[in-house]
Amino acid sequence: MHISDEILLNVTKPGRYSGGELNAIVKPGGAPINFAFCFPDVYEVGMSHLGLQILYFFINRRRDACCQRAFMPWPDMEALMRGNDLPLYALETGTPLRDFDMLGFTLQFELSYTNVLAMLDLAGLPLRSSERGEDMPVVCAGGPCACNPEPLAEFIDFFYIGDGEAALDEILDNYRENKNNGGGKQAFLESVAGLPGVYVPAFYDAEYDENGLLLRFAPNRPSAPATVKRAVVSSLDAAFFPDKFIVPWIETVHDRAMLEIFRGCIRGCRFCQAGFLYRPVRERSPETLFAQAGELLSNTGHEEISLVSLAACDHSRFENLVDGLLARCSPEKVNISLPSLRVDAMSLSVLQKTQTVRKSSLTFAPEAGSQRLRDVINKNLSEDDILDGCFRAFEAGFDRVKLYFMAGLPTETDEDVAGIARLAERVVDQYYKLPYEQRRRPVSVSVSASCFVPKPFTPFQWAAQDELRAFNEKQRAIKDLIRKKQISYRYHDAPSAVVEGVLARGGRPLAAAIERAYRLGAKFDGWSEHFNFEIWQNAFKQSGIDTDFRVHRERQAEEIFPWDFIDIGVSKKFLRREWERGMEGKTTPNCREGCAGCGMAAFAETAACGRESNSALSLRREIQP
């Protein structure tokens, strides 16, 4: 790659742009299908993403395809690229993105949408699909935010909804066949429009009223199905997983090997999009994971391996898994990191095993400050669970605890908000129940409250999001109520939650506002130092978007949502029932305790839900009071 030193030695962290990492794949001369995986954030964030590593090696395992990577350049690099007419290029070979057959964006969260536009722009491509010619790459997008593709519908040629491993091969097969037959971009899109998980926005007409409410949505040609079904991999044990990862030269956010121990979640917390989007739970067996860990570690040299899932201890053979990994990793001085644990006895004992040397901080996520509100959100965790968990952790030698909460949850009252401060103070009290000689240093409890943003495909998709003023008042209230000096309090930026909320549940009319915001200079909106609320307020105003109506009102039961045409497997009826139960303060048991009838069992013929062993079930019951 030949980017001049005049550019690379004048930017921060030039290693972001120079490629050449261990295990990166360079296919000289390319392949019949040249695919660029585009991550709309900076290199260190993108390279920490498991999905990138999986799909990179998944596509590159094909002889007929070559996958390279591109990231959003940091503003210093972006300025130099624009100043030097250097188009956005892929790291492996330096090939400009516009020379690729396909660009694939991953949509991890809504505040990266302006970066998607920036990357298209830096590649020298028109932003809108309708303005990109036959000689330009096909632009596709996937990832969790693709479950409501409509805000980006004007910019993306096709979306892919679901597990990449499920139907990506078929899409690439079609691409190659179409190319061999001399077919163009339109013919290719026609050929994939009916595949599982594929949505071609141009093949559907959407009509909105002046408030942005969806009136009608329907395909405009026979090749496009009325309902787009999410593509689902039925068995993770049989699914592809790379035996190596690209090892970055520079330090990344999560600089370690990753094992995906299962996909999906049994819990059904009503605010959590991932909890519904990735159903059913599909586990990898410990045996598969041991083999994958062995290969990954010997091919990367990583000193840490992380067990990735939505709630690690929900793996039905969790202890078995951790013991086996410890036996393999400890002699090699490899740390095991468990980023997602619940507060219970088993988790704590596992944690102690994995952290024999260093007592780092523990993170608990009560999410809400009162039992009433935790029932509303279906977070089946009692105050006693939390306090007992903390006490046991303190007994075991931990003295730093992080507590995560959300402000602005549906039905939240002042009393619930005050509960956040009260719970934090009670956690501190637990520490002082320890005998004096066991308290080695002052306990530190850090409380963080984020602003709740309702997301599509959750029971809270009908909810009204708190207004800016309410968020600010709540955050101030929590701050004022915290008296103990052992507690530190951090809260998230409320204005960016408003933008996130508009984008999350928006429809096609948002295209104009997103493009406007980008033209006005919005980028890296997920980074507080770059987020500029004024730009977004202007962009919404100039495009006639009423943010109050879009996010701050409760939606009607019969309202058609922009994402209703997508069938993720969990039915809208079930989500509505869960919304109503939530409003009544009723909890719903998790998938292992009993099937709540979300629709997933019927959706995926080989769905794993309900197939767990009885022993795992009973073990679970003992732990969950």
Partner: protein
């Protein structure tokens, strides 16, 4: 490679060691890491033709220096090559403790003979100065420093890729940044600073002579340093 900082390079080296499954020794304590240390950090933006690091192995496994080098090279990422290894004698000091000087090549995009003559003249003039006082940034503002005695050699090589070869002090007590010298040269040439540094080799002092770190010192001579470049 030159876009990688010293700390990132250190981490990359540790991962090569792990992939090569060498019987490396780890530090004690909360966060064990491989006992590996470079002779002299390589600044971001600079390439190196020969670098040195000390690596501690556990006593358990017999392994020859040749075997170490070949296993490391099998596991090295592009841009990194291991040139040689030798076992340190007991009592030999760490490479970082004995490195005294470094050679650098400053590659120039010079073409005309006139340019070449101008450069040679400037280099000769610099060497003829009894003192060369520069401003050195310190924690408490700037300080005047005489760098003349830290310029050990200065020469100009013509050819298709003309370059200035600099030998400068590079011990922990006396270190002269090659950029400082380049600054002086370009100032006298009345030109914008250009060119790229390649670090050529590192030296220690043995009996008043400078010897590349890789060279083994016969028994009885001064203490000697480390191994893998």
């Amino acid at each position: 490679m030159r876009y990688i900082s010293h700390l990132d390079l250190l981490r990359a080296f540790q991962r090569v060691m792990r992939r090569a499954k060498l019987p490396v020794a780890y530090s004690q304590g909360f966060n064990p890491h491989i006992l590996l240390s470079f002779a002299l950090p390589l600044p971001l933006g600079m390439e190196s033709a020969r670098d040195y690091a000390d690596l501690a192995l556990t006593g358990g496994e017999e392994i020859s220096p040749e075997e170490i080098v070949s296993r490391l090279n099998e596991n090295a990422p592009g841009g990194l090559r291991f040139l040689g290894a030798r076992m340190l004698g007991s009592g030999e000091a760490r490479a970082a403790a004995i490195v005294a000087a470094a050679d650098y090549a400053l590659r120039l995009p010079v073409s005309s003979e006139e340019d070449s003559r101008a450069i040679s003249t400037v280099l000769d003039a610099l060497l003829a100065e009894p003192t060369l006082v520069t401003l050195k940034k310190t924690k408490s503002g700037e300080k005047e420093t005489d760098i003349r005695r830290d310029i050990l050699r200065l020469s100009y090589e013509t050819g298709p890729e003309p370059q200035i070869i600099l030998r400068l002090s590079a011990s922990s007590a006396r270190f002269l940044n090659p950029e400082t010298v380049a600054g002086l040269i370009f100032e006298r040439l009345q030109r914008e600073s250009v060119g790229r540094f390649l670090r050529l080799d590192l030296y220690r002092e043995v009996g008043g002579k400078r010897v590349p770190l890789m060279e083994e010192i016969p028994a009885g001579a001064a203490a000697a340093p480390g191994e893998t470049p």
